[in-house]
Structure formats: C-alpha cells, structure tokens
Symmetry: C2
C-alpha cells in the first residue's frame, strides 16, 4: 500500500540526534522501565521534536500487542454534564495516537453490560488495555478486570468502603473535585457572600459527596451557618431549576449557590432569569465542568483539565503494560490527583 | 476467558424461531446478498428480538474481516456547532455494536493528515471500512480511499464541480440542510415576518451554500426582498454576535435571522440580550444543529436525525462490504438524503 504521508523520521535519526544506540531508542519505545530516567527524558524529547512514530506492524511483532485501548462512550443525557466525558475521549484519542495507540469505542448502558463488552473486546479484538470512566461505589468493573488480568486505568478514584483495597491494586487518575468546590466557595466568601447553598446529587455517589465536602469545608472554615442550605437532586436541568426555586423561596434564601454540575447550575440560572432577576447580581451561581453552554451564558464553573487527565491515564497504562511485557507483576498504584480551575464569569 | 455476561442466544435458536436452516442464518450474517429479501427481513427481526450476536472470533475466521470501522474525532472548536459530530460518533458506536462492528477513533487536523492516518490504519489494524464526516469541495480523502480500494461511506454529499463524478463512485448519506433552512424560513413567514436575514459561512462551503439556498428559496417563493440581508462570517460566537449587531444597526433591520449554525445563532442571541431585548419578541433567531445550549436558552434550531444517519451509513457499508466479500465490484451509490426537523422554542 503506497503512502501519501510525508517521509517519516526513522529510529536511526532519533538515535543519532539523541546520541544513543538504536537499541536504546527501541527500549524507550518498548521497554521504558529498562532505560534510565534522564535518558528516557532526552530520547522522548527528540521523538516529540521530530514527530517520530514507529511503524505499528513492526512493533506488534516485537511486543505482541494490538495497541488498542478501549473506552466507553457514555450515552448523552442532556448533553451538558455528560459532554465532559466526550471531551475526555477527544483528548484520549489525540494523546494515545501520539504514542501509537488507538482508541476503540464501545457503548453500554450499565456496568454488567460494560463487563460483557470487556469480555468480547478481549477475545475478539485482543485489546491491550481499558480506560474506565465514571467510577463509583462498589464498582464491579474494577474487580472483573483485575480478576481477568486485564491492563486498565481508571479516570476516577476507587470510591467508598472498599476503596483502600482497590486503591492498593490498580492505577488511577482523578480530578480533585473537593478542591474545585472549595475554591468556588472561597471565591464567593471573598465577594462578601455569607449564605452559600450547595445543590448536589443524592448522597452515596463518590464524586458528588466529594464535591459537597469542598463546599462544606470552606463554609466551616469561614464560620458560616449552612443549616437548610443543601438540596440533593438528580442531575438534570428541571431538577436543578425546581431545587433552585425551593431555595429562593425559603425563609432565609441563600445569596449564592454552588452546584455539583453545570446541568443543575443551568437549572438555577434558568429559574433566576425566568423571575426577571440577574444571575450574579441578584443571586450568584457556580457550576461544575465548564460546559460550552456555561461559556455562552456567562455561568462561572469549575473546569477539569481533560488533556492532562488523558496524558496521565496513558502514563499509568504504559507503566502497567511495560510490567506486563517484562513479565513482572503490575506496578503499585501511583495515584494522580489533578487540580481543577475555577472559571469566573458574570454569574458570580 | 470466563464470561459474566448472560447466556447468549445461539445461531441454532435463531434458525429454529425463524424456521430456516443454520446456513441461512449464517448467510444473513455473512453474505446477505445471497438471501431473499423477505427471508432477510424475517431472520433479522428474530436476531433483533433475541439480541443474538455471533462471536467475533468465529466470524473473523469465516469472513477474514476485522470488523473495525474508523472514524475521525474532530477537534472541538467552541463545543457548540462541532458537538453535533460527537453525537454522530455516539450513534455510530451504538448502532455499529448492534451489528458486531466496533468504531476505532483517530484524530487529524486536516485532510492530508487524515489520509496519512488511513494509510496507517489499513496497514496496522486491518480496518474494514471508514466513515468520513465533514465532506467538502475538492475532498482529497474520497479520491484516496477509492484509489486504494478501501470500503467507505461518507456522511456528507460529494460537493461541488466534481460532485457528479464522485457521486457515481461511492456511497453517501446526508441530511437535507436546504430543507431545514427552508422550513425555518417558512415558519417565520407564517408568523408574519417579512424581513428575514441569513447569517452564513463564507461562500464555497458545500454545506453552508446548501443551507443558504433553502432560506433564499422560501423568501423568493413568498416574494420577500432579501437585499442587504445576508452576512457571511466564520463559525464562532463572536463573529455571529458582530454580524448580528451589524444587521440590527442597518437602515432597515431584519425582524428575524436564520443562521447556518447554533454558534452563529448564539452570537446573535447574546447580542439581542446584551441590548436588553428579548429573542423571539424583539428579534427572532433560529440556529442549526440543535445543540444542548439551544435547548437550555430556548433557541429554535434545526435538528439533524443523527441516529438515522448512523444507521443509514452502516446499511451502506454493509452493501459495500458484502460486495467485497463476494468478490464483485462495489455497488453503485444509493444516496440517502434524510430530512431534518425544526425544533421551535421561544426565540422564534
């Protein structure tokens, strides 16, 4: 098959420029655990600079791997909160491709179906690894993958009672949600707010409880009274709007509402504007996930660094796969917790 | 490898319930061109009802196909107009999986890079087929795939001067954009509007010119004067806002603006609200692609039937692949042009 692509830099070129042997370049690519960190950094820098990419077929012969990573595409709910996982898939696709991996998608409606897909993907497509998203309490997927010796990383902590055990057995990357809501609440306190409500999901979701804890910590540190200022609802705009209305109609309404998601925050925003009031002037509201809609209407929101999350997931997977190739046990987890950032707009 | 999945229905079960031989069921799956249409329909209905899915490994041995379909994940621009392609990828993943295919993603910034990825995907992962999106004038990707004998379908017409030639050589599915803007404009005319502007992309984009033509046809049929009522700008919110301001500040401002995309319509919407006016009451505005943001803020928009598009693309691909398996030339194109639907909200 002929190629219209530009002539590619070769392994030889990389070796010359990095002043190492061809074998060292090969090790950097296929067995990075054998290479000293300084050399690894130098050779990788040259690889990046030249845009060098080894031919897949040649690599498969050496490593007997498919270089396919599976990720689930979650069904769009209202296209707002859930869209952040699409952004993650985008970043993962781009960053995986730079490392000569491809992302294979699958669809599933719940965990047991996802596990059935794992089974098919392993037997039918010889998958190298899985990237799990939306981890939660009692996540059966993690136990299944560990039991079947599959390489995987989770975007999301091992939540809950068995967290300690899971944490000791697999690699994960997450965003520090509590730090995000803490920053959002601190920002409101600095702007003079004293009655700050939290609109969250029903208790028992690891992600939701974590985000609530950041708001609570900031309120407590500032000595604020939070009684009657939380509502827990399902993650959609109408639920957020109804809960926002309830808070606004209370005896002592809040002057600001921190929300666990943009879906809920947009519900509050809709209720504020429907009453002829102005978000940010009459009532402040802050969301989570920095959806495109938040940018359009001027909703402050906590943004997750999805490109960094994707890179960190791939770093973790390469550690797991290198151990597998070397025939040694999987590496211990080296959890990566990335900080989110608050994007301040007119609504606060 | 053990499976936690439910016990699956077998080929035998399908054959019994459909009252056909096992060979016929096998033909329905692997060589549908050999099966009479009525039988094909009956067996497929049973397969759907039972949720029967043949084991991939067994199929690959028979058909020597990877059952992998590649699709490009387009870089998110502002997360509004472009997000509609994510919705398509979602639908394609779900519908492909039902037919025992998986979607493999790749990233590319422009056509030549996309072509370089095709080359790698064919040689490294033995791809069965490609689904192209965002077709445009002088699309080099189509020629490359045809030349290399790759199976593919495009979501998007073969646009432009060489359209006739391309149209004769490949299968495509598209949404009738002109019908969408025609419906949107007719809806405004029925509501009493006489000065209806069109905010589009620079001329020369097949999709943009097509959408403009629907607006123009509706205006001409109603005998409306359109002089000075078009603006062509790049596809982002600030450009839409500036063009909206310019139209509003004209000597004879429009009472309604039909937009080629939600990004541009949201720009107009932002300008209207920034002036303290109300979209739909003071100035009507209609977008295209029915983004989640449109639903939140009450923007009327033309929706593309993405699930139908995904199904139609897979129908076309199965025709192409069946011909390939049978060793006969690719089937002639049987273009599928699907109607969009207008979602009316407060902004019109």
């Amino acid at each position: 098959m002929s190629s219209d692509a530009q002539a590619r830099p070769t392994l030889e070129t990389v070796a010359q420029i990095a002043s190492v042997s061809r074998q060292t370049v090969s090790n950097v690519l296929n067995a990075p655990h054998l290479v000293r960190p300084e050399t690894l950094d130098r050779v990788r820098a040259v690889i990046d600079e030249l845009g060098y990419r080894p031919h897949r077929a040649a690599r498969t012969l050496r490593t007997r791997r498919s270089h396919l990573i599976a990720a689930r595409m979650h069904a769009p709910v209202d296209g707002i909160s859930g869209a952040v996982l699409d952004v993650f898939i985008h970043a993962l696709t781009t960053r995986a491709q730079e490392r000569d991996y491809r992302v294979l998608l699958f669809a599933a409606n719940e965990d047991q179906q996802e596990i059935a897909e794992y089974d098919e993907l392993l037997s039918d497509h010889d998958l190298d690894a899985f990237v799990l998203t939306a981890t939660h309490l009692g996540d059966a997927r993690i136990a299944w993958l560990a039991e079947h010796g599959a390489a995987f990383v989770t975007f999301g902590r091992p939540w809950g009672a068995d967290g300690g055990e899971n944490a000791a057995t697999h690699c994960w990357v997450d965003v520090d949600g509590a730090a995000g809501t803490y920053d959002a609440t601190r920002h409101l306190i600095r702007n003079g707010h004293r009655r700050i409500a939290f609109l969250g999901w029903p208790e028992g979701s690891g992600v939701g409880d974590d985000r609530r804890s950041g708001w609570l910590r900031a309120c407590r540190e500032a000595g604020l009274d939070v009684s009657g200022l939380t509502r827990n609802v399902l993650d959609d705009l109408p639920a957020g709007r109804a809960a926002g209305a309830e808070l606004m109609d209370g005896a002592q309404p809040p002057t600001a509402i921190v929300c666990v998601s943009d879906s809920l925050a947009l519900g509050v925003w809709t209720e504020i504007t429907a009453r002829g009031l102005t978000p940010g002037r009459d009532l402040a509201v802050i969301g989570f996930d920095d959806s495109p809609t938040a940018a359009v209407i001027g909703l402050s929101s906590v943004a997750q660094p999805m490109d960094e999350v994707a890179r960190a997931c791939l770093d973790q997977l390469e550690r797991v796969l290198a151990a597998k190739d070397a025939g040694i046990p999987p590496p211990g987890p080296a959890p990566i917790l990335l900080p989110p950032s608050l994007v301040v707009r007119a609504s606060s």
